[in-house]
Amino acid sequence: MGPPPAPTAGTETATLNIEGMTCASCSNFVEKALSRTPGVQRATVNLASEKATIEYLPGQVDRAGLKAAVEQAGYGVHESSPAVAANVLASDEELDARKAAAYQTLKRRFQVAVALAVVIMPLSMLMLWPAMMSRISTPVLNYVLLALTLPVLLYSGREFYVSAWNGLTHRTASMDTLIAVGTGAAFLYSLAATLIPHWFMQHGLMPEVYYDTTATIIALILLGKVLESRAKSKTSAAIKALMGLQARMARVVRNGQELDLPIEQVVVGDEVVVRPGEKVATDGTILTGNSAVDESMLTGESLPVEKKAGDNVFGATLNKTGSFRFRVSKVGAETMLAQIVKLVEEAQGSRAPIQQLADKVSAVFVPVVIMIAIATFVVWFDLAPEASRVPLALVGFVAVLIIACPCALGLATPTAIMVGTGKGAEHGVLIRNAEALEKAEKVTTVLLDKTGTITRGEPSVTDFLTTNGDTPAHLLPLLAAVERQSEHPLAEAVVRYADTQGGLRLTATAFQAYEGRGAGATVDGQVILLGNRRLLSEHNVVLSTDTEQQAMQLLSQAKTVLYAAIGGHVAALIGVADTVRESSRAAIQAMQADGIEVVMMTGDNQQTAAKVAEQVGIKRYFAEVLPADKAGKVKELQAEGRVVAMVGDGINDAPALAQADIGLAMGGGTDVAMEAASITLMRSDLQGVVTAIDLSRQTMRTIKQNLFFAFVYNTLGIPIAAGLLYPFTGWLLSPMLAAAAMALSSVSVLTNSLRLRGYKHSA
């Protein structure tokens, strides 16, 4: 067979998932089988990804034919659409099944070890009763103990030895190495004492055996592993729960008929019907109907949200009262739920800076412990009285190896991060990575962008005053025409107001936006300017004293004033107000009570800013901040030595969010916001900020406790096991006690992390 020809025009490429390949020769075999199939131009098989990529002539062979060729070669083809495979929500059932099976095996190994250890222990203690010992011969007893210990070693403890050996071939050492060397040494010594007791006696040694030590250590370590594996599965429970939220079926309208389809078959543009009490299948926009939807699973907001035509709905939320139809806008990995899962998964894979020391220590931990154990043996052997030097040296050696627990160090930070980020997601607080969590703890100042955080961010027109004698009915359509072109929230308020008033719909030409000031355009042949005071003064429009007074009055009511000029003369004043969220004051007070200074920043004028600040109890604020200056204000606060958390909507304040030590984007949902912020708050109120800071403080506290415990445990445990206290107190640590301590230490760290699951935000 010659080299495959270059891809010719008219070929098609197919990818098949091949099953059953175990080695490189299998993949070669499949590759050959495919290459020989008529119509196949080129076939490559990747063993690692278990995929075959085939270029073929569609006229001569098709996908089914390729599949048949693979099956004839003795392998299987696993059909799955790539879209589903790429979906993070598709939980890996096989992985779960394997994990469950591994847990069952572990439990069985533990049970066998315990069952035998409870027999071995009392038998070993027989020698404590001389009366009993006189009736039983020691060699016979030793052989019985050996027979009982062997299964513990070879079945229950096998994994430790295999894994230690595998590690040594890679020049790495893990906890398994310590246990293997420790129990191995005790066992081999006992074995020698059982098989050749005479040799021991000739050298003045008692042929003592340590079968009980060997068996008990293995049983206890396995107990630790069982508990650990149970606890560890709980650390990722939050994300599993999130993944489980996805709807399985959707009621799709196709060709006028309602069909129940599996969620994988729903495509963008489909129309989906949702009845009361049903789960919303995926993300979309409501076409008809209205209802209240429980979005608590995504946002943490406990009250159902009213939805009407034009509103967005999200997959996995629960429809409460009404029924509605929506147009699917996102499916699979694009949906809000999938985004949240992805974000949480990424955060759980990230590294916290606080972990650095523990990482450095654990990198050298095991080899260093082995060296300490060897040194312990030598020192005991050299210093202890001749009769007892071998047992003392051996016991010290084994105890040091067994008590050392690198796992506690390794688990201290990541488990807390996993539980903390998962808990955050439950409360609608999405933490980008461990570093964000760590920084949020240190925050001293929270800078709030007023609009959309403290207030609803949806200003509405409260006053419309004409100043040139014109009627509102005539003026409003002109102004609305300009504002329709603008994307500013204030402009939207004017448009909404005009829409409710009815009237003509005019078109604007020569539209120009003035950043942070307003906009201008020509409507109906008239040059119109609409914006703040600065816009007018820049265009040399003068205000009369009357107008000035009217404006002052609106300003004193904490309203934003829009000035409208037509043909260079002031024509109208528009009062716009943004209402403060009910929850803002309580949330700000909660932050202040935690010792955090809350600062407000707004593009509004001094008076409006002062009014709102007073309303919510903020003492320091920046008014009339242009969008471009927002990041500068963050810098200003940082220059005062503060650790600044910036809270904004994530779109027009992205630079400020990036400049801040930690950026919190509120109101969630938009990809831009999620990208820019360290923390995304799904709920649209400030309570989320309180939760984020509070949760980060608790998580960090847990991590510090864990690290402290892990370090103290090891730095105290190892010297005690080595017998450092023996010269002063006569204390020696039995290797069995060391095993119990070691098993409990990693479980304690995990349990401490799991305490975070009980976190309730203070509100």
């Binding site: 591994a102 398994d176 894979g349 080899p367 060897i374 160090l409 688990l411």
Partner: protein
């Protein structure tokens, strides 16, 4: 000090030196990535009491696919962490798990098991 003690001491010190050399000073296996036709840099890694190879060289700016084949059931290696790329993945025993990412910057990044016992490094050039 009797003869036995001298022997034990000498052997012990020798073992100490050997352990230190074996784990810290001995050379590691290095593998450079192979670029596939699609421009993805692929490396196959076997996970069995460690990662082999455990030093992996790739180029920056091109997507990387690390194929971890976990050749054991031992729970130590069940998780794989690549913290610099925010990756935490469960590796199924006796299966290949492909991990894909795009290294943007040159540098040396560590990958470890869930408890930071087994480790390897990714050298991005």
């Amino acid at each position: 000090m009797d003869t036995t003690q001298i022997i034990v001491t000498v052997v012990g010190v020798g073992l100490l030196a050997f352990v230190g050399w074996f784990f810290f000073l001995a050379p590691h296996r290095v593998a450079a990535a192979v670029s596939s036709s699609a421009g993805v840099q692929q490396v196959d890694i076997v996970v069995k009491g460690g990662y082999s190879p455990n030093v992996i060289e790739v180029e920056h700016g091109k997507p990387v696919q690390l194929n971890f084949y976990r050749d054991e059931e031992n729970s130590c290696s069940e998780e794989l962490l690549l913290p610099d790329f925010n990756i935490r993945r469960d590796l199924a025993p006796f299966k290949t798990t492909a991990i894909e990412f795009l290294p943007q910057q040159a540098g040396t990044f560590e990958f470890t098991c869930g408890m930071h016992m087994l480790r390897g490094s990714l050298v991005v050039k």
